[in-house]
Amino acid sequence: MPSPSGSPPGAPRHFTGRRTLLLAAGAAGLGAPALLAQTPPRVVVVGGGFAGATCARDLAAAGLAVTLVEPRAEYVACPFSNAVIAGLRQMEQQRFSYAALEANGLRRIAQPATGLEDGRVLLADGTTLPYDRLVLAPGIELRFDAITGYDAAAAGRMPHAWQAGPQTLLLRQQLEAMPDGGVVAIAAPANPFRCPPGPYERASLIAHYLKTHKPRSKLLILDAKDSFSKQRLFEAAWQALYPGLIEWVSLSFGGNVTEVDAAEGVLVTEFGRHRADVANVIPPQRAGAIARVAGVTDASGWCPVDPVTFESRLRPGVHVVGDAAIGGAMPKSAFTANAQARACAAAVVALLAGETPRPPKLINTCYSLLAPDYGISIAGVYSPRNGLLAEVEGAGGISPADAPPEIRAAEAAHAEGWFRVITQAVFG
C-alpha cells in the first residue's frame, strides 16, 4: 500500500511547480530565502543495474534531485553473457559506463550503501544521504549457505557466472582449458531465481561450443526442478542441434545438488555423485545484501512490494525494483527490471507530488539464444491483481514449436536488437 509517510509533511503538492518558482525567483534577482530553501525532493537510488539505472534516469528526467549509489565504475550486463562464456561474444560488449548518466545530471556516489537509518542511507565511509524516497535495486546475492561446500572460495573453482564479470570469464577459460571428451556439469537452482531460462540458454551455447571445438564432450544439467521455462522448445532444439550431447537430470530423477567438493570437481545429489571437468554451480539466490540490512526482505529472502508503486510492504518510503522484488508472475529479467523501474519512477514522482499513482501494465520478454542463429522467446503482460503482479490472460506468447530456421534466425536477431536498444536506453 502506498504510504504517505515518505512525503515530508507540508511539502508542496507539485515539486515541478516549485522548481519553476525557484527559477522565477532567481530571474527576478530576489534573495527570497524561503523559496531558495525549498529544493526538489531528494530520491536516492541504490544499485546501478538495469533496474536502478533506469529508475534513476527517469527520476532525474522528471526534475528530482537523484543520487545513484553504485560503487562499481562500470556495469557488466548479464543478458548475452552466456554468449561470452561460449566464446561467441567479447566481454567488452557487456560493459557499460555510467558516464552518460552522470552527464545527464545524475550524481553518482561510488561507494556501497551499508544501511538505513531514519530516512538516511548510510554509506561505507560513514557519511549519510538523506532522502524523501528511496529506491533499492540491489539485484541478487548468491546464497553461499545453501549447498554444502559451495562458498565464495568454491566459486573460484566451480564458477557460478550468475553475476557477469570475472566469473563469466573464469567459466569461459575453464571450458577452453578442458580436454575434448570432458564432462561439463551445470547445477540449476529451484525457483525463484534470476533469469529463469538462463541455465538452459547457457547449456545450449556451451553445447554449441563443445560441438564445434570438443565434440566428444558431454554436458550434464543437474536440476533442482522438474520443469523449466520454455522447456519444450529447449528440449526440441537440443535434439535437433546437439543430439546426445546434453543430458538433463530433473529433481525427480535425482538432479538436486546438495553438496559439492570443489577441489575434486564432484557434485553430490540426493541420489548420487557426479564428477565434472568443468562445474558451473548456480546456487539459490536472495535479494542483494542491502535489502536485508534495510529490513525489506521477508522469510523468502526476497522483497514483498506493492505492485502499483513498488513500495516495500515492510518499510514505508522505500521502494524495491528488479530482481530483488517479489514480482508475482513476472520473471526476474533485465526486461522486467527496466519495466518495473519505469513504473516505480512514475509512481515515486506521483507520490512526491501528492498524486495517486496509476496501476501499471508491464511487459516482459525473455529471449534465449540456443545457437548463434537460433533464438526463441517468451513474452507476457502483467498488471496488479490481488496485491501481486499477475499475468494478463491471452496477452503473452511463446515462440512456435515447429518454426522454420528463418524464424529462429529472426528471433536471434531480435534478441540482439533488444539488447542494443535496452542498453542504449539505460546507459547510453
Partner: protein, 106 residues
Amino acid sequence: MLRTLLSVPKTARRGEIIQIRAMIAHPMETGHRMGPNGVEIPRKIINRLVCTYAGEEVFAADLHPAISANPFITFHTVAVESGILSFAWTEDDGAVHLAQAEIVVE
C-alpha cells in the same frame, strides 16, 4: 516397473545413525481431477512404503492423495549389521514395486 531411486550408505560403523532416501516416479493421481474429456481421472497413488533391513521391518509409511507426485521419503535408522535394505511401494491396484540396496557394517 516404475523408476525408483535409493540413497543408502555403502558402508557404516555398527551403531551409526544412517540417513536413507527413497523416491519413486509416480503421478500420485488423486482421483479429484478431470481429464480433458470431462471425465474424472480415477485415483491411483502409491499408498504404502515399507522398508526392511536384514529381514526386519525398520520403516513403514502410509501415503495419501495430498502427497505430490514422485514421493520422496527420507528417514534414519541404525546400522546394526551388514545386509540388504529392501523397499516395497504398494499401489492402489495392489501392484508392488521393489528396490534394494546393500550395506556393509563394520
